[in-house]
């Protein structure tokens, strides 16, 4: 009885999510999150079938695994079979289940123990499937849970049908940085505090990734590891397929010097250098930097180039900080709460600069923020919760900075 009530409530929540949210992307990803939460699943994904290529790609996925760049052929694999056949599958014993031929999550370190995969059926076609894998409490999925999932999938399919889901053509993206089962522990008193508990994430070239999460969830730690500022405890960090899991200090310095540009919440400018000097100070580190004045011009600060940080406003300082980040022509810019200390207008100005950089310079930007509104302008939004990737959402239609409102 209680179980029924729980599922009913979950169904209502999903309905509410799907019906009340204007943005379909959010509605779907929200629904997936609801069902994963309700079923206490380890991970889950909504797969969407591209009729042109007859391949399935994950539109949204939740959980520690990053399967953003994976696509499977329709009819192949559990996801393909379900999409192809339109029949749900409940796997409780994958080792002995002849239908189970492996999982895409396995590459991200999630070994399938139990699984649900239900088709997304609209009125005419099967447009994809919803997949849930493993339960956090180690139990197996039940038939009831399968039914709930089917219900959710039906609702989702209906909504998609109703609102129309346009999936932009996804290009094959080149991975810049990969995190695999990355953990980070800090000594805490007599014990150890595990801040990252197994992060799996790929960052692609020329994408704008926003990492969201509550304070203390590990998002900054993850970014610090990506930025070479902190060493991971376990797992792997691959930079352009090169293993950077346990680099020397010199390697890390070299990595930061060549690959990374930083934008901090507190700007961290050299107080004794003017705006342009701050930029030049870093430009001198690389062989082919951007012209410092040009970098300053890119952030629209040419008229304040000779001002010291103390003579600039917060937004201006942050723009200097951005100019300093881009002047090296880095492959990855890490921005840690760059607008946290800024007012809305200034924040938008700063975000606009970031947006331009991604667009014009082709630089990858990974921005940590706790402002969900900013996530709307990202290509992908990674949510971190309790040291794990909670979800990775692909923004099918990212907004421009000017469109953001909070």
């Amino acid at each position: 009885m209680a179980e029924n009530n729980r599922f009913t409530k979950a169904t209502w929540k999903i309905m509410e999510q799907l019906l009340e949210v204007d943005n379909l992307d959010e509605a779907l990803s929200g629904s997936l999150e609801i069902i994963i939460r309700e079923l206490d699943s380890e991970a889950g994904a909504i797969w969407y079938l591209d009729p042109k290529t007859d391949r399935l790609s994950p539109v949204f996925h939740v959980g520690p695994a990053d399967i953003s760049n994976i696509s499977v052929e329709n009819g192949i694999g559990l996801e393909g079979v379900v999409t192809k056949t339109g029949k749900s599958i409940l796997v409780t014993d994958p080792q002995n289940d002849p239908r189970f031929e492996g999982s895409v999550f396995e590459d991200s370190g999630i070994e399938a123990k139990t699984m649900i995969c239900v088709p997304l059926n609209n009125l005419n076609d099967i447009i994809g499937c919803v997949q849930l894998i493993n339960k956090n409490d180690g139990t197996e999925y039940t038939e009831e849970e399968l039914q709930l999932c089917e219900r959710m999938a039906s609702l989702a399919a209906m909504t998609i049908d109703e609102k129309g889901l346009i999936i932009p053509e996804e290009e094959e993206k080149e991975v810049l940085i990969s995190l695999r089962d990355v953990t980070k522990e800090f000594p805490s008193g007599d014990g150890v505090l595990q801040v990252l508990k197994g992060i799996n994430l790929d960052i692609y070239k020329n994408e704008f990734v926003v990492v969201l999460g509550e304070s203390g969830c590990g998002k900054s730690t993850m970014m610090n590891i990506v930025g070479g500022m902190e060493a991971l405890t376990d797992g792997k960090l691959l930079v352009e397929e090169k293993d950077f899991s346990h680099p020397t200090d010199a390697d890390l310095t070299e990595f930061r010097r060549k690959y990374i540009g930083f934008i901090f919440q507190s700007y961290n400018l050299m107080p004794n250098l003017t705006a342009v000097e701050n930029v030049r100070f870093v430009a001198e580190l690389v062989d082919e930097p951007m012209d410092s004045a040009e970098a300053i011009a890119k952030v629209n600060l040419s008229d304040r180039a000779d001002n010291y940080p103390g003579q600039l406003s917060g937004g201006q300082q942050q723009r200097v900080s951005i100019a300093r980040a881009i002047v090296k022509r880095p492959k990855l810019i890490l921005a840690d709460e760059p607008t946290a200390a800024l007012d809305y207008t200034t924040s938008i100005e700063v975000l606009k600069v970031v947006e331009d950089i991604v667009r014009d310079e082709g630089t990858t930007v990974m921005m940590v923020t706790h402002n969900p509104e900013i996530a709307k302008m990202a290509d992908r939004v990674v949510k971190v919760r309790s040291g794990k990737i909670a979800s990775i959402k692909r923004n099918l239609h990212p907004l421009h900075a000017e469109e953001l409102v909070w």
């Binding site: 610090n224 961290n268 003017t274 100070f281 580190l285 000779d306 103390g310 003579q311």
Partner: protein, 1082 residues
Amino acid sequence: MLKNWYGDCMKKTQLKDSLRNISRQKVSFLSIVIIAAMAVMAYTGLNFASEAISGNASRFYDSVKFRDVEIVSSLLVSEEDLKALKEIDGVENAELVWQSYGTLKKGNEDISVSVVSLTKEVNVPSLVSGRLPKSADECLIDFELAGKNDIREGDKITIKDAAYLKGEEFKVCGLSMNADHAVNMMAMPGARYVTVLPDAFDRESLDGCGMKAVAGFKDVIGTNRFGADYKAYTEGVLDKIEALADTQTDRRTDAIMDKYNAQIADGEEQLKEAKTQLDAAKAELDAGKAELDAREQEYADGGKLLSEKEKEISDAEKKLAEARAQLTEGYRSIDDAKNTVRENVKDAIRKGLGQEFVDAVKWGSPTDTFDVDDPNLTATRLYLLQHHYIDLNEPMLGHISFVLSSLLQQGITEEQILAAAEKVYGVIEIFPEEGIIQAVARKITETYNNFDNKYEQFAGAARLWDEKHAEYLAALAQLKDGKAQWNAGRTEYRNARVALDYGWSKYNDGLAQYEAGLNEYNLGLAELEKAKARLSGVDPCQWVVLGPGGNGSYGMIDSSVKNISDMGITFALIFILVGALVIYATIGRIVDEQRKLVGATKALGLYRREIFQKYLMFGVGGTIIGMILGVVGGYFLIQPILTVTYGRFYNFECSHKAFILLMSLIVIVCGIILATVAVWSACSVLLRSSAMNLMQDKAPGTSKKSGKASSKSLYTRLILLNMLTDKKRVAVTIVSIAGCCALLVGGFTMRIAIVQAIDRQFTEITHYDSITIFSDDAAEKQLPVTQTRLESAGADTFALMTADMPFVAAGSIKPGLIYCGDLDAIQSFFAAADGTAGEKIDADAEGIWVFSGLLDKVDFKAGDTFIVYDRNMQPHSAKVAGTFKNYFGREILMNEKTYESIFGEVPENNTLLTINKNATAESVKRILSSTDGVESTAYSLETHDEYRNLASALDLIALLMVVIAGVMAYFIILNLVTMHVNQKRRELTIMRVNGFTVKEAIGYILRETVVSNIVGIILGLGAGMLLGYRVIMLLEGVGSHYIHEPRPTAMLLAILITIIFSVLVNFLALRKVRYLKLTDIA
């Protein structure tokens, strides 16, 4: 109380915040504590030590009632002088002292000692063991002297050549420590005292006057004898004594003149009387001589007569000898004739009677020996038979009858004889009245006469011989008589000679006595003239009034007390300056770091004073803790080290520690004020700024840009920019490093300048291996002998004259020691180089060459004149020929000509400089120690060691200063570098995050540190040179001159230490850069 304080001034949370602020800035706080501790420790420690030494010395001087003044008079100190001295206001006690220098004989060794009379109220010897002397033949001996020469209580000692000392043998009744010798022999060499009762001196011959007087002043017991009060007080009393000296010396001069004029008059009278007596004696002698001459004539006549008589006797003796020879010959001829007679008688009997009758007769034998001088000898007696002689004056018949009669005694009868005869002669007629024998004899006689008819002739010759013999005997008797007479005459003659000789000897004795008397008279006359001349030339009486500083030991202690205190002030000034700067820099940096926080607290409504208290607590709190630790360290660490080090030079107990409460409190109060000022200076600007201003990022003062691109990388420019932007911090860093470096340079300079000066003295200047001074009496004889002995042993020697010669410089009398001789030849032994030209001094220059150390104390230059005193303390004017380079000693060089021109007398060599050369040190030592009349011998090697030993005390101070400066330097650099790294932590992290390597990040800090260190060291070297010079000048005395030039070694060491500390501290501090947490800025 604290509760009230923070209740009034500080809220509880503010206090907590202040304490946590300290906790967060541990290194800086600790640096302030340690720097304050070091500065105060150095200052208080040196002052405590100075006070402790003066306190301990004062206690000793109180216990022995040390004289506050010593008066030495050129004409002795009389009882009257003493009485006048006692009447001076301020003088408590005064006593006369008899003193004489002598030689204590110990085995083969001669030890120079000063025999001094026992005093009761002033300068009382402190007994180490035994008791005070009770009789004139007992003595106390200085315990050091006794220990060094193994002399014990109860021993008997002999002291030779001590003028005015009645006896030479003394029994040691105790060992003592004399007030004059508070500093031990090692540090203050000189003749040690043998103390005897005044009765041991021949005071009568001195008219009861003493060689000197000593006096103690009122109210000095219990005071610090090295303090300004004591010195001012004694100066006051000394002035009165100086004033008294004018009166007393005049009186003394007059008294002496009167006395000796009277003595001269007496002498003249005595000489006159003596002359009369001498003249009378001369007349008597002349008369005696005339008589002797007459007797001599008589004697000569007697001698002549004796010679004549002797000749006569000789002639007579010759004649008698001839007669004697003739008589002997004659006697022998007669004796031969007698034998013929006997044989003829035998023949006659044989013929008349037969052989058997001849054989029956016992015939006599010829004469074997005879003596012509025998008065009984006669030629007429013939021993025909044994034992029976016949007289040749009788006829032969009787002789033959006698022979025939002898036959009867042989048992032959007359009938047998007759029968035998008748056989030959037939019957023999026997006449009446005739017996058979006579009848037979007649017959035989006839037979005899038939073949010998010369019997009568022979008998006549025998009679004649007897006559001549009688004549001879008479002449012989006469000669003997004559000879006896001559012998008697000769004895008389000889006796006359003896008598005459005696007479002459008496005469000669008398004459000699006369001549001696005359000589004595002449001498007396000359002496009188000399006395008159001397008296007319006697210089007026002079007093040398010696205050406490006139005592060598007191002077040395006073100098040590002053040196330590002066150094405390000198070093402390730098310590304080550096300490204040460090507080200023530290607080300034903390406030600057907490700029926004200060702004926020201001914005929150806290008063300026409330914010100030937080930093005040940091700076002043650290300073107070440091100062308290410094006072404790100064008391318990520095003070004992110094008192123990200096104490080994003192004979008195130097274990009492001193604590100067007032000074400590003043130091702490001044420290608090200084720290408060430093804290206020560091935060005042910020505290006056508005909260808004403070909360904004600090921008450099100007945004002016040249627009001209610099060739330097921004990284390099930024380092310079940082320094220019943060001038205050950089300046403080530089000054702090300079201060530490200066302290190190100062400390090392002090140490090296002293040690090198000592070494230079004994390598560059003093080339002789020993200097031997002979006593004035022995010098003339012993010096050349010793010189010959030493040169025979292979040593080089140089004879010269040395003498103490006080001189006036800078208004006071300074001790000087004349070296007078051939200034060219002395160069091999004592290389005196011109103080200004640096070359060998001009040996023929007119004037005196003074040691260059004086130049710093007195502005002497060539051509100047100054006053020098002779041994009678009479002043003479002397010209300065120039200065010569010398570090230790107070030698004053002059040639013989200059000496003569100044003192009006010819110098007499009394000193021998010896270079061992080919002789072994042992052989030289053996020769010198076995030489009589040696007053003292100093061996350069030992003197060098003694100087080094003495310097070790100053060495220790230098070492302490170096250690303290070193500790300070370490903490200053640690604090500054830590502050710098902390200050730049964010920038460094930004750099690291942006890809700067660890090396580049470290270089960012290090370059500034290197620049600051270099500039600081350069400035420190300059300041250190000045500090070192100042310290050296403080330490120098009249007889000690150290190296003034900067010591490169000191600088190198200071640079090295500063660099080592800097490298060490930077190494530790900059390790932080390597481990910077890059995520801190995220």
